[in-house]
Symmetry: C2
């Protein structure tokens, strides 16, 4: 069972060692890790997010009347610690704020577990970046894949694909604060 859980993750990590050398600064850096773009303008896939601030998890979230079978996927959402601190203290997300939406397949009945779901294989990553100097809408959205074979870089998605919904329905500055427990508690403190 352990091998079943670890191998897909190991395979995933093994495919992308070259990204590490020009990705975000080391986790212990005192400065905010900034989004990195290659010469073509594509976003380099963020890695080493273990030291980022986790803001909330959800499972199987749907936004239409269609209800897929099964529990759906886990989405774990992170932002830079510095972006979180700024939001908590000022109520504003700073420029270069980056959110990661990390996708895990639901797993169960491993080890002593008999019901419910824990996080199995990581299969996807979506990212949002706030950068008014680079994106006319202020925020841009990127997908590095959904099937477990993540790309090293990703171009910004066309605005209608993500921006429109975030712009219309997200609680605060295109961020779905309402769905993320740690962001909700931070937002509360910053409200007038």
């Amino acid at each position: 069972m352990r091998a079943f859980l670890l191998l897909p993750i190991a395979a995933l990590l093994a495919t992308l060692p070259f990204v590490e050398s020009h990705s975000y600064p080391a986790p212990d850096s005192p400065s905010m890790p900034l989004p990195q773009f290659d010469a073509s303008g594509a976003l380099v896939r963020p890695i080493n997010f273990e030291h980022w601030t986790f803001v909330g998890s959800n499972i199987g979230m749907t936004y239409s009347d269609e209800h897929p079978q099964g529990p759906g996927e886990f989405h774990n959402v992170y932002t830079q610690p510095e972006a979180f601190d700024t939001y908590r203290s000022t109520g504003k997300f700073p420029e270069k704020t980056t959110f990661l939406l990390v996708v895990y397949q639901p797993a169960q009945k491993a080890s002593i577990n008999k019901g419910g779901y824990f996080e199995g294989e990581m299969t996807g990553l979506a990212v949002s970046v706030k950068d008014s100097s680079r994106f006319k809408e202020g925020w841009a959205y990127f997908s590095f894949g959904e099937g477990g074979d993540l790309a090293a870089t990703a171009k910004a998605l066309p605005a209608p694909m993500c921006f429109s919904c975030h712009n219309q329905h997200a609680d605060d500055d295109h961020v779905f604060v309402q769905f993320h427990t740690i962001l909700r508690s931070a937002r509360h403190k910053s409200l007038p």
Copy 2:
């Protein structure tokens, strides 16, 4: 809907301001935040865990053949960044390693959500501490409550309540590494 989500959290935070002054060091401290015990030997409730390392989430996990109705609760699990780094680099959890198990009620059908579950009200906190000088079993387990009204301090639970199962079934040094995605990836790298 926003008020519904925020008020329980605000009420929870408002009940415990006095804990902050003698709790864990500030998140930006370069040293590992250490568990704090009061004069009676009770553990002071850890707070300000937003900068700790999130290691995984799960929902409705059961370990018996009974399957409760509904999705169950979210459990978000954290450890100190320094404990995580040590585990990743050496394969060992250092003394004073602390795990937080933060309990959230499942929420849905708020805002544009129509299915699946996100994390609603925080209602519980359980903690484990590795301290061989203080606990003869090496690890001790603490509950700060399950109903939303969390205690400021907690005594170690009797060993049979948590220790026995962690000792018998946890993947590595009494820690259920097998259920937590970030710990699994760290463990893999440290295996011989």
